[in-house]
Amino acid sequence: MSLQEELQGPPPAKLVVDHVSKWFRQKRQNVHALDDVSLEVEEGEFIVIVGPSGCGKSTLLDIIAGLEKPDKGRVLADNQPVHGPGRHRLVMFQESALFPWLNTFGNVMFGLKLKPDLRNRERREVAKFFLRLVGLEKFMEANVHELSGGMKQRVALARALAPNPRVLLMDEPFAALDAMTREQLYGDIQQIWQKRRKTIIFVTHNVREAACLADRVVIMSPTPGRIREIFEVDLPRPRDFNSIEIARHASQLTAALKGYLAPEALSVE
């Protein structure tokens, strides 16, 4: 496989979440985390999931990733049932989850080393390419603790992109960042997604973020976790986070979200 092919990669995947339910059994009580959740994601689609805390967003991502097993239902990736985690569906966690025993470069190389059909020289090239893409080529040798929060998230992004997964599952990846860095990353993410055609499922609490990034926004509600509504965001790209259009969509989303909240939880936002 040539380097060029490796950077282009296979086509994005189609995902089907098929009537998935999930319970967490605890000593005191059973938590009904997901209730009969179904979702079809097209190849190369950008899906954003929003919903209040505890509505099962992370659980859903874990199940799609194969890190958790559903109690009912199944997940299909390209018509194949998902039985466990696999290289083609990479998760970018809420905390950066970078490995402190490796430097920046080593972290990006970790996933690449697990791809068998690459030569080491190619792996290094790919890692450098992605570090350049997130603007951190000068920090290749830096240790994780020497990076700022935003830089860590960018390394995590490079680490997630480098093995060229067909599906990228992102769990509130930018929640811990300041507004400026975040807005810059929205631009980067849209660019990467357009250039490199991936299926992305992105979880957030931020409705503006959702409107800015999504093809479709999935709204979930808690106890038990359910999908309530799916919004299409039909705006041209790249989108400007601060535009009026985005703000209008965001306020629609907020209104819808409030409608599904239990009355006592309304005061939270």
Binding site: A65, G66, L67, G84, P85, G86, R87, R89, L90, V91, F93, E95, A97, F99, P100, W101, L102, N103, F110, G111, L114, K115, N143, V144, H145, E146, R159, P163
Partner: protein, 255 residues
């Protein structure tokens, strides 16, 4: 440079105080020999070779026992951290035996192995193994599960995960456990050598023992100094590079 200078000054001052105390003749010179006479003993012992052969014997026992202890302790610790059965059995055993001062193994070792090298090794290994088991166990347990999850989504299988995630992630605990194991091994070996006369080799502990028998205080203090210096060197050579690496990578400790 300034730090080295200060350190040197400190030790020179220490020896000067010692010399001054001897000069003041508060204690009899039999009980407190002068720095000069200790030096004389050390040079003569070095010249006739007893010092080096004794250090060699002691270090060989220590290193062999220590590395066997590590080789047993590390896998056992991984085992107790990952299997509840091992945790309830070996884990409890290790916790109990770790609190046992390692000198307590000496009588048992003598009865089992007699006055042999085997007894010495046994004592050192018992001193090392349990603290290494405990440290490995805590190290593995305190790893944030997110590392393993991240690795799994990148396609890392169970074996790969042990080698490339679990072990390096618990490195800080492993190093401190290995250091503690080293200290225990060193102590138990000295205790064993002082109390047990073994025909197969004459270690530093024996020199200390005979120093006392002969009332040769210069020998006792000289050998103690050698033991301290060996302990210090071991620390600097075996562990300091690792600790520096840890501080640099993890960003812990002084910056």
């Amino acid at each position: 440079m300034r730090r080295t200078l200060l350190a040197v000054l400190f030790f020179v001052a220490l020896v000067a105080i010692w010399a001054a105390l001897v000069h003041a003749k508060i204690w009899s010179p039999v009980l407190l020999p002068s720095p000069r006479s200790v030096m004389d003993y050390l040079t003569s012992a070095a010249r006739d070779g007893t010092l080096f052969s004794a250090s060699g014997v002691t270090l060989r026992r220590l290193l062999v026992g220590y590395f066997i202890g590590l080789a047993i302790g590390l896998p056992l610790g991984l085992l107790t951290a990952s299997l509840t059965f091992a945790e309830d059995t070996i884990g409890v055993l290790a916790l109990g035996l770790q609190t046992l001062p390692s000198v307590c193994w000496v009588p048992l070792a003598l009865l089992w192995f007699g006055q042999t090298e085997g007894a010495m090794l046994f004592v050192v290994i018992m001193g090392t193994v349990w603290s290494v088991v405990i440290a490995t166990d805590t190290g593995v347990r305190t790893i944030s599960p997110i590392f393993a999850r991240a690795a799994r989504t990148m396609g890392s299988g169970p074996f790969h995960r042990w080698i490339y995630v679990i072990l390096p992630a618990s490195l800080p605990h492993l190093i401190s456990g290995m250091k503690q194991g080293w200290a225990f091994a060193w102590r138990s070996l000295m205790a064993a050598e002082i109390y047990v006369t073994i025909l197969t080799g004459f270690g530093l502990g024996h020199l200390l023992h005979y120093g006392r028998e002969l009332n040769a205080m210069d020998q006792v203090i000289g050998i103690m100094l050698v033991i301290v210096v060996i302990g210090l060197l071991a620390d600097k050579i075996l562990f300091s590079p690792w600790e520096r690496f840890l501080h640099r990578r993890w960003g812990t400790g002084r910056t």
